[in-house]
């Protein structure tokens, strides 16, 4: 059966809204996705039938909450094909996950060591490493990927005996290009570096297999994959999680405490201090179920087809510069030289079309592209061809209205 976005969107109540007197056209999915009814139901069900703190008092509700909470860990582990549920650590999102690693590995860095990232990173996968470098005297190095995500054999030299950590995004949030992640991970492993993959922009679109990727850490946010905000994941291989110094300490992550010493709990609890975001965890598992119940292959092909439609509609327009690749992406990032992206965005918004104008938390990448900001339309499974068409039409109207002087 062919993928039917119109039917799927029925599961997303918010998409029926109007925005500024027009039907809402939501194309800001790379920032955050909307949530299907199943996720909303899971949150309500948790609070109406199971709310209690987890791993604590042995009573009826606490048992229910704890069971659901740990089952969610199994489901999320399964979703990314982790070896074991214990390898999944709950965080509040990609940013926190990366920070847990950047602080947790501080002990192993010394001056002259190198931390390697690429030129396509979100600030979340740049600033924590830069600050780690400042704290330890290590060097932050940047592997220059082109905006097409190209990998040159000469880049091998960036991976050397000094490289301690390699952190890279799987897909650029700003322009939607895939990075040559497997080649880079292989090069990083060859020099025994810790490896971290930022999967924030990948999880909603592509099936993730952390064992196949074979990275030490894989991080993502629930809210970008149809789940709730405030919940995310730090996956790690056992040896990698074991060596992380816990950044936060307190309740839940300990086994025995005296005034003079603390014995930490085992993984995953050792890295999860305090009461967790229980309903977020349960909502995230529901989002995983939502995704796995779809035909993932058809779904991403649909999303790519929408991006391709926009690309093809606009590519010959001499007023427009497109920074995203022509294919194999779910994003179209563009600018109109001479017209500020905030102005384009203002008109699109007045017509109910939600996109993102800005630097997409990637200032160095914007500098590489030679712009201060871009306008980004990013597609999700519930978007339709008529929405893609509407984006193009309204963008062209905006250019007409704004381009007269």
């Amino acid at each position: 059966m062919a993928f039917d976005a119109n039917r799927l969107r029925e599961q997303f109540p918010i998409l029926k809204l109007e925005a500024n007197d027009h039907p809402l056209v939501y194309l800001d999915n790379a920032a955050t996705t909307q949530k299907p009814q199943a996720v909303l139901d899971a949150l309500i069900a948790y609070y109406t039938t199971s709310n209690a703190n987890v791993h604590r008092g042995a009573h009826y509700l606490s048992d229910r909450a704890t069971t659901q909470f740990e089952q969610a860990r199994d489901r999320v582990a399964h979703f990314i094909n982790a070896e074991q549920a214990d390898h999944v650590i709950w965080t509040k999102g990609t940013t926190e996950s990366i920070n847990l690693v950047a602080y947790g590995l501080e002990w192993c860095l010394k001056p002259d060591d190198e931390i390697l990232i690429t030129s396509l990173e979100h600030h979340a996968n740049l600033v924590p490493w830069q600050q780690l470098a400042f704290r330890t005297g290590a060097r932050l190095r940047v592997l220059p990927l082109t905006s097409k995500g190209e990998w040159e054999p000469e880049y091998e030299r960036y991976f050397n005996e000094h490289t301690r950590i390699f952190a890279c995004t799987q897909i650029s949030n700003a322009i939607g290009v895939k990075t040559p992640i497997k080649e880079m991970l292989a090069a990083a492993k060859a020099v025994n570096a810790f490896t971290l993959v930022d999967g924030a922009q990948a999880v909603a679109h592509y099936p993730i297999d952390v064992q196949d990727l074979d990275c030490d850490f894989y991080v993502f946010s629930g809210h970008k994959m149809y789940g709730p905000t405030g919940i995310g994941v730090l996956y790690g291989k056992p040896h990698a999680l074991e060596v992380l110094t816990p950044v936060q300490t307190g309740g839940e992550m300990v086994r025995h405490v005296t005034y003079n010493s603390t014995e930490f709990n085992v993984l995953p609890y050792r890295l999860e201090a305090g009461t967790p975001h229980i309903e977020g965890v349960i909502g995230l598992a529901a989002a995983c179920d939502f995704l796995t119940s779809q035909d993932r292959e058809e779904m991403v092909q649909w999303e790519q087809r929408l991006a391709r439609y926009v690309y093809d509609e606009l590519k010959f327009n001499t007023a427009i510069e497109i920074y995203s690749p022509a294919s194999d992406t779910t994003v179209v990032s563009l600018s109109v030289p001479g017209i500020h992206t905030m102005d384009l965005n203002g008109y699109l918004d007045s017509q109910g079309v939600a996109v993102r104008a800005g630097s997409h938390c990637a200032h160095p990448l914007m500098a590489q592209l030679g712009v201060s900001s871009t306008l980004r339309a990013s597609f999700a499974c519930y978007n339709t061809l008529s929405e893609a068409r509407r984006f193009c039409d309204v963008l062209l109207e905006a250019i007409e209205i704004l381009g007269d002087d």
Binding site: N20, H340, D343, S350, G358, L402
Partner: protein, 136 residues
């Protein structure tokens, strides 16, 4: 820049009943803004924290302030027209007494002002009320 009529601008913006109408009105207002020369569009005159670049220049004459401002975004230039119509020709002491945010909110621009944390409107107002060291 003496013909900025704050009441007329307010009336035009208040007549807008849709976001589209407000958008078009701001674009039309933006065309009346006297642009700054490149000599004035320098780093020192830039207002920090704006998503689009905004430059603000202050002159004082007989104790009254005249501001000139510019931006690389049209909507922002429209908003700057509104702001300048409110503040030009008044003394610094008076500007410091006034609640400019409240006055701006009378212009039916709420959706442009709710994002003021990011678009920098707050920073512009603050700078207008601040004592300009070059005029002390």
């Amino acid at each position: 820049m003496t013909d900025l009529n704050c009441d007329a601008i307010q009336a035009r913006l208040q007549a807008c009943t849709s976001k589209e109408a407000t958008f078009k009105e701001l674009v039309s207002l933006s065309k009346q803004l006297k642009r700054l020369t490149d000599a004035d569009k320098i780093e020192e005159n830039k207002v920090k924290g704006c998503e689009s670049a905004v430059w603000l220049v202050e002159h004082q004459n007989n104790g009254l302030c005249t501001f000139q401002a510019d931006s690389d975004a049209k909507l922002m230039r429209g908003v700057l027209m509104v702001i300048l119509s409110l503040v030009n020709g008044h003394s610094k002491a008076e500007l410091q007494q006034r609640d400019l945010i409240a006055e701006l909110s009378e212009f039916n621009l709420s959706s442009y002002l709710t994002s003021s944390r990011t678009n920098g409107v707050l920073g512009i107002l603050k700078q207008i009320q601040a004592n300009d060291p070059s005029n002390l």
